[in-house]
Symmetry: C2
Amino acid sequence: MRQKSVLPLENNKMTDDTAVEKKSIRADALRNEDALLEAAKEIFAASGVDAPVREIAAKAGVGVGTLYRRFPKRSDLVVGVYKREVDACVTAATEFRTRFSPGEALTHWLKRYCQFIVTKKGLAAALYSGDPAFDALPAYFRANFEPTLQSLLQSAAKAGEIRGDIDAYDLLRAIGNLASVGGTEGAEHTHRMLELMIDGLRFGATTR
Amino acid sequence: MRQKSVLPLENNKMTDDTAVEKKSIRADALRNEDALLEAAKEIFAASGVDAPVREIAAKAGVGVGTLYRRFPKRSDLVVGVYKREVDACVTAATEFRTRFSPGEALTHWLKRYCQFIVTKKGLAAALYSGDPAFDALPAYFRANFEPTLQSLLQSAAKAGEIRGDIDAYDLLRAIGNLASVGGTEGAEHTHRMLELMIDGLRFGATTR
DNA sequence: TTGATAAACGGAACGATGTTCCATATCTGC
DNA sequence: GCAGATATGGAACATCGTTCCGTTTATCAA
């Protein structure tokens, strides 16, 4: 029987690069793959993308052989983790939309997005490593985040909760730049600046 | 007796973070330090800043113990190498100035600077690694390159060989961005674009 | 349910690399 | 030239990436 680890992505859209001819993947293999991505996510956040392979395998409760079977190169793991996180962040948007008003949903999602950015130790390092394996990541980010935010912005604007002249990509970039100031207390600083931006969105909501 | 390896920096300005109380450094130690920086420079350019320590020590003709005595952390070596290269690039400017006309000196130096940028495999990776040891590098680059280029530009403009409305920092950034397109044949592309820019500088030299 | 079969697993083992340590070699000042 | 200080080299140990194969486990048909 499936257990709790199945929550993020019922459809396995990110690992089917070798799909189309495989009939079925064993259930334990699926579970392990998920456990590995979850473990890698936490360890990448804590220690960066150069964390020891053994540590990740141990946290996932599998052997290193299993890790290598699923993710032959480290970049495979990194890409898998970050795509999975992007998907989770996008999924959160639809949840926020059902539970909150358009404006509140937008606010919640921006904070969620911000958290995604801040916790990504080593993401920038990976992106600038020169390894072509990461070339597709930025496009994946934008292709998923931009429509999500676009939609949230439109809904909130239509509801009169924010102004309507904000471009989604601009806002994504701006928050990304905001959060790029690292450091221990950088998270708080980023959070304050984000609140400021959100207030800025609200300002002029009615004044068309 | 000193040998050929002493040419770049007679004054040891980049390794005196622990100075002020040391009386004298043994001559062989100085020679080894220079050999290590020279070896590391070439190996970093060829294989990136993650190249094996043993390889660098071997190329320098010393044991790893000697390397670790002088550069306890890898970042020490990286910073040492790049500061040394900045110094060499700045030194080249004064040489060009004595051997060429102001305009030619400027052209030569821009190509020299461009070569500095292009050959820096792994520099970007180091800068974005998040290691605070590299925080001072960008400032060091600008503090040395901007006045150098500024001066070259002024001389060339005063001699009527180029226009006079070019900002040194803008030009440095522009060339840096030009050269950031990596790849094997990227060097040629960068060179062509650089020639274009230089022609752009010349254009309008007399007009106004 | 059970057994055959393929799939997946785990972790020992190996090689490459980072890092330390100290007996030995070399330099410097006298 | 000598003594003491300084620096060296590379063996030795620790850590990590990666491979390999005997063992375990899931799947499915009977």
